[in-house]
């Protein structure tokens, strides 16, 4: 296995395990630099009402960059709203892939897992490749996988909080609970968070605010790409166990004075 091996989602090979979101970009022009630096497996976009400004430029930039586009249902508060948004996304972008988000609380932006499961079931039935943003609960993750979701995307900490992975043991439990790919979504603050996600056994990491709201987004995108590779390699390298006591690394044989 090389550090840069890709990940398979629903039979499609994605070249990178770093996925990025475009939310929080200060300008459309930045997206090209960020994509170049991150070399992401895919890039997420939202579906919103068209306005009179020069629309389409984000899509144009992404298409020029040749990246796979993953529409999300960000901001939806019910299964019904999320299903309609996914259907609109399929029509607008010609993809049946959707990052399914159903938000249950405006302050914490935590997923409403009841609505999420309902929407996932409907969309899977309608032939969508569903990648649900969910809590770090292994039971919900298994339910989503059982419904036919192509991956599960547990949160590390609240969206945009940059607090990293609040409960690493929960992410490991999600990893152990499902056979489908696990993509750490939400909460990534800096590169070490992305590396930790991979060390915990995640198959990919989605970072949005951590990159787009960094002082230098392209530099952070590079850092994230390297961190995802480093974490993936470390996971496969077989880390040493944590010990309560010290264990000398230098042999005692030939020590002077003995």
């Amino acid at each position: 296995m090389s550090a840069t091996d890709g990940v398979q989602i629903a039979g499609a090979q994605l070249a990178s395990r770093l996925w990025i979101g475009t939310g929080g970009l200060t300008s459309i022009a930045t997206v090209t630099d960020v994509v170049e630096a991150a070399r992401p497996g895919l890039v997420t976009v939202s579906i919103r009402r068209i306005s009179d400004q020069s629309e389409g430029s984000l899509l144009d930039e992404l298409r020029r960059a040749g990246v796979r586009i993953l529409p999300n249902t960000a901001g939806c508060r019910s299964a019904r709203e999320a299903v309609l948004t996914a259907q609109l996304a399929r029509e607008a972008l010609g993809t049946s892939w959707v990052k399914l988000e159903v938000i249950g609380d405006e302050t914490s932006l935590m997923p409403d897992v009841v609505e999420l499961l309902s929407a996932a079931e409907t969309l899977v039935e309608q032939g969508f490749t569903v990648l649900p943003y969910t809590t770090d609960d292994p039971v919900v993750a298994r339910r989503l996988a059982d419904l036919g979701c192509a991956a599960v995307m547990p949160l590390g900490s609240p969206i945009g909080s940059g607090r990293g992975i609040s409960n690493p043991r929960a992410i490991e439990a999600v990893r152990a609970a499902v056979a489908v790919p696990v993509v750490l979504d939400a909460g990534i603050g800096t590169a070490s968070d992305a590396a930790l996600a991979m060390e915990l056994g995640c198959d990919a990491v989605l970072a949005a605010s951590a990159i787009t709201r960094a002082e230098r987004p392209a530099a952070m995108a590079t850092a994230m790409r390297l961190a995802v590779d480093a974490g993936r390699l470390a996971r496969s390298a077989g880390r040493i166990p944590e010990l309560v006591t010290a264990r000398a690394s230098t042999p005692t044989d030939g020590r002077m004075g003995t």
Partner: protein
């Protein structure tokens, strides 16, 4: 008659089709989708979709998002 387009009330002549409504706007050639009263209307059906009084039309595209 009056319809609502992306949350804004708009008077249109009777018999207006979704295709006519869309072509009257400066929209990009691709990357857009429309729904009428909460149901997606595929591009192929825009021309035969005649709007009715009080219809609610949503026109969307891809924007920034995580």
């Amino acid at each position: 008659m009056n319809i609502t387009v992306n949350g804004i009330p708009e008077p249109v002549v009777d018999g207006t089709t979704l295709a006519a409504l869309m072509s009257a706007r400066a929209l990009p050639a691709s990357g857009i989708a429309a729904a009428v009263n909460g149901d997606v209307v595929r591009v192929a059906l825009w021309a035969e979709t005649v709007l009715a009084d009080q219809d609610v039309v949503e026109i969307v595209t891809a924007k920034q998002g995580g």
